[in-house]
C-alpha cells in the first residue's frame, strides 16, 4: 500500500507574522518549519511502514523553495521520498486553488491512503483534507485520534464533543490525524543524515497539468480586504497572595457581577 502524507511549511510560531502588500503571508521572509500538527500524520505513516501495512511513504507539499526544509524534517521522522510543488503561480491561492494543486500532486503520486494533520498551524482551516478528498473522488475519515488500516479500509476513532465514534471508510481515502494520535519520534542524527539522501522530486504546476488560471491570487474566490491589529487587552492588576488572594478575586468577581 502506498501512503502519501500532506505536509505544510508554516511560519515559526515564535515569530510575528509579516504580510505582503497584497495581504498574503510573506512566507519567504519568515523563518518556517514543518507544521507541528503534521508531525502526527507523518508519525502514523511511518508506523504503517514499519508494521508492513504500507510499503511506501511519500511526503507531499506545495510551497516556496524553503518548504523543502519541511519535507526533510518529515523524511527524518521517516518515509521514502517526497514531492515538492514549487511555482510562483501558486502564490496567493485560496483553499480552492491549494486543494486543486495538492489533489493533482496526489493523483500523480497514486496513493491508496492520504494522511494529513488536523489543521495547519497558520491558517488553521481544517478543510483541506475534505476538499482534496472531494477533488480526488475518494472517501474521508477526519479528526482521527487513533487509526487502524488493513488492505481495504481504514477505521478511526473520532472524538466530537458529544460522543466518541468509530468511523470506517473504504480505501482509497483521506484521513486527517489529530494531536491525540502518538507523538512523532524525535529523529536520530542518523535519521537526519539519511533523510538528506532521500529523493525529493520538484514539480511545477505545468508538470501537474494544472491550468494556471485556476490558481493563484487572481483566481481566488475570496479577497482579503484588510488586516488590522486587535487592540491589546488593557493591562490588568497582578497581586501576590498574602493570604488575601481569594478575597481579592471574590471582590473582583462581585464587582463584575459574577457572584
Amino acid at each position: 500500500m502506498k501512503v502519501a502524507v500532506l505536509v505544510k511549511y508554516v511560519p515559526d510560531p515564535d515569530e510575528p507574522w509579516s504580510f505582503r502588500p497584497d495581504n498574503t503571508l510573506d512566507r519567504e521572509a519568515m523563518e518556517g518549519r514543518l507544521s507541528e500538527l503534521d508531525e502526527y500524520a507523518v508519525e502514523q505513516a511511518v508506523r504503517l511502514r514499519e508494521s508492513g501495512v504500507a510499503d511506501e511513504v511519500v511526503h507531499v507539499t506545495v510551497g516556496p523553495a524553503e518548504a523543502a526544509g519541511a519535507l526533510r524534517k518529515a523524511l527524518a521522522i521517516g518515509g521514502d521520498s517526497a514531492v515538492h510543488v514549487v511555482d510562483d503561480a501558486v502564490h496567493g491561492s485560496d483553499a480552492l486553488g491549494t486543494s486543486l494543486v495538492l489533489a493533482e500532486a496526489l493523483r500523480r503520486v497514486g496513493a491508496d491512503l492520504v494522511l494529513t494533520g488536523m489543521a495547519s498551524t497558520d491558517a488553521e482551516m481544517s478543510v483541506l483534507p475534505s476538499m482534496v478528498a472531494d477533488r480526488l473522488g475518494v472517501a474521508q475519515a477526519t479528526f482521527a485520534g487513533q487509526l487502524d488500516v488493513d488492505g481495504e479500509k481504514v477505521s478511526i476513532r473520532r472524538d466530537t464533543d458529544a460522543a466518541s465514534l468509530r468511523v470506517s471508510a473504504a480505501l482509497p481515502a483521506v484521513v486527517s490525524v489529530t494531536d491525540q494520535a502518538g507523538e512523532a519520534r524525535y529523529p536520530s542524527f542518523r535519521a537526519i543524515m539519511t533523510a538528506k539522501k532521500k529523493p525529493v522530486e520538484t514539480l511545477t504546476v505545468a508538470d501537474l497539468g494544472v491550468d494556471p488560471s485556476r490558481i493563484g491570487l487572481a483566481a481566488a474566490a475570496v479577497s482579503v480586504l484588510d488586516i488590522s491589529p486587535t487592540p491589546p487587552r488593557e493591562a490588568g492588576v497582578v497581586v501576590v497572595d498574602d493570604g488575601d488572594g481569594a478575597q481579592r478575586v471574590a471582590d473582583f468577581l462581585d464587582s463584575r457581577g459574577f457572584i
Binding site: L37, L128, S130, S168, A221, V224, Q247, A250, D254, I259
Partner: protein, 321 residues
C-alpha cells in the same frame, strides 16, 4: 431577500446553541433557512423557527446520518443548488469543517472558516476572522459562489427572532458511492456532567499543569460548580491524564469565549491563549509571576491555586446565599 442556508445540528438534548448562533448570523445576510439531516422532529422545527428559520429542508434518507460528513455535505449541496443562497453557514466543529470543505469545492465557492462576524458589502458577503492567535483581525470578501462560512462558537450571540413556524420541505437526495463509503460503526455518547457544555458556558474555570494531579482537579471543579460554570483544562493537564481530552482548551482543542475565564495553574502558552483570549474577563492564578497568562489577565494572583481556589470557592458560596 436572499436565502441563507444554515446546517442545523442537534443532539439528544435538542438543537445546539451553535445552530441558534448561525441563524442569528444568517439574519444579517438574508433569510435563514435550515438544513436538517435526518428526520425533522416538531420540536427541532419549532426551535429553529424561534431563531428565524423560515424554511426547514429535511433530508431523511438512511445514508444521511447527521454524524457522517459526506452524506451531510451532499445534502447541503443539493439544497444549495435548488435555493441559490447567498451564503451557507456551518458550525466550526469537525462536522461543520468537513461539510464546508466539500460544499465549497462542489459549488466552486469562496470559503472562510472560524468567522467571528459577518455582514454584507453591497451584494457581497464579508466575514471577519481573528488570526495569528488573536493578534490580528482579517476582513475577507467572498467573490464567487454562495459564501461558505464556518462560524466560531460564542462569537455572535444567539438572539431569538419573532417566532415563525417554518415550512418543512422534505427532500430526496441520491447519494454518491463516496457518500456510502464511510460508516459509523460505534457511537459512545459522552456522559453528561451536569455542568454547562464548554463551548456554550458563560463561565469557565480551567486547570493546567499547576493542578498537579487528577485529584487536584477537584478544586477546579468545586469552583466551577460554585460559579455555575464549565470545567476546562490546558493541554498539559489533559496530556497528563488529569482531565479528559474533550475539556482541552486551545489551538488543538476547543475555543471558548465566555464572560469569565478563570485559569488556574495555566502558564498561558500561545497555543492555549488561542483558545480563550477572546474571553470577556480573565482571572489567572499561578505560582509563577512570569507566567505569560498574566499579560492577558484582568486580575492575576501569584499564589498556590491549591489554597486560593478552595478559599475562593467558600467565599463564592457564602456570597451566593
Amino acid at each position: 431577500m436572499s436565502a441563507v442556508l444554515v446546517l442545523a445540528e442537534a443532539t439528544g438534548s435538542g438543537v445546539r446553541k451553535a445552530t441558534f448562533e448561525l441563524l442569528t448570523a444568517a439574519r444579517r445576510l438574508g433569510e435563514p433557512r435550515a438544513v436538517v439531516v435526518g428526520e425533522a422532529a416538531d420540536d427541532v422545527v419549532a426551535a429553529l423557527g424561534e431563531y428565524g428559520a423560515t424554511t426547514v429542508y429535511a433530508v431523511p434518507a438512511p445514508e444521511a446520518r447527521q454524524d457522517l460528513s459526506v452524506p451531510t455535505a451532499e445534502a447541503v449541496v443539493e439544497v444549495a443548488r435548488r435555493v441559490s443562497p447567498v451564503a451557507v453557514l456551518l458550525g466550526s466543529g469537525p462536522l461543520g469543517k468537513d461539510v464546508a470543505g466539500r460544499v465549497a469545492v462542489r459549488l466552486d465557492s469562496g470559503i472562510i472558516t472560524d468567522v467571528v462576524d459577518v455582514g454584507l458589502d453591497g451584494d457581497a458577503v464579508v466575514a471577519t476572522q481573528s488570526i495569528e492567535s488573536g493578534l490580528f483581525a482579517a476582513r475577507t470578501k467572498v467573490l464567487r459562489g454562495p459564501a461558505v462560512l464556518t462560524v466560531r462558537p460564542n462569537s455572535i450571540g444567539a438572539e431569538a427572532a419573532s417566532t415563525t413556524t417554518p415550512t418543512v420541505e422534505t427532500l430526496d437526495v441520491s447519494f454518491s458511492d463516496v457518500a456510502r463509503a464511510a460508516h459509523v460503526d460505534e457511537t459512545s455518547p459522552k456522559a453528561g456532567t451536569g455542568r454547562p457544555e464548554l463551548t456554550e458556558a458563560t463561565v469557565v474555570v480551567a486547570g493546567g499543569r499547576g493542578v498537579g494531579s487528577s485529584d487536584g482537579f477537584t478544586v477546579v471543579e468545586a469552583l466551577a460548580d460554585a460559579l455555575g460554570g464549565a470545567v476546562g483544562a490546558s493541554r498539559a493537564a489533559t496530556d497528563s491524564g488529569w482531565a479528559p481530552h474533550d475539556l482541552q482548551i486551545g489551538q488543538t482543542g476547543i475555543t471558548v469565549a465566555p464572560n469569565l475565564y478563570l485559569a488556574a495553574g495555566i502558564s498561558g502558552s500561545i497555543q492555549h491563549r488561542a483558545g480563550m483570549q477572546s474571553s470577556n474577563t480573565i482571572v489567572a492564578v499561578n505560582k509563577d509571576p512570569d507566567a505569560p497568562i498574566f499579560s492577558i489577565a484582568d486580575l492575576g494572583v501569584v499564589g498556590d491555586l491549591h489554597s486560593v481556589l478552595p478559599a475562593l470557592t467558600d467565599l463564592v458560596r457564602e456570597r451566593r446565599q
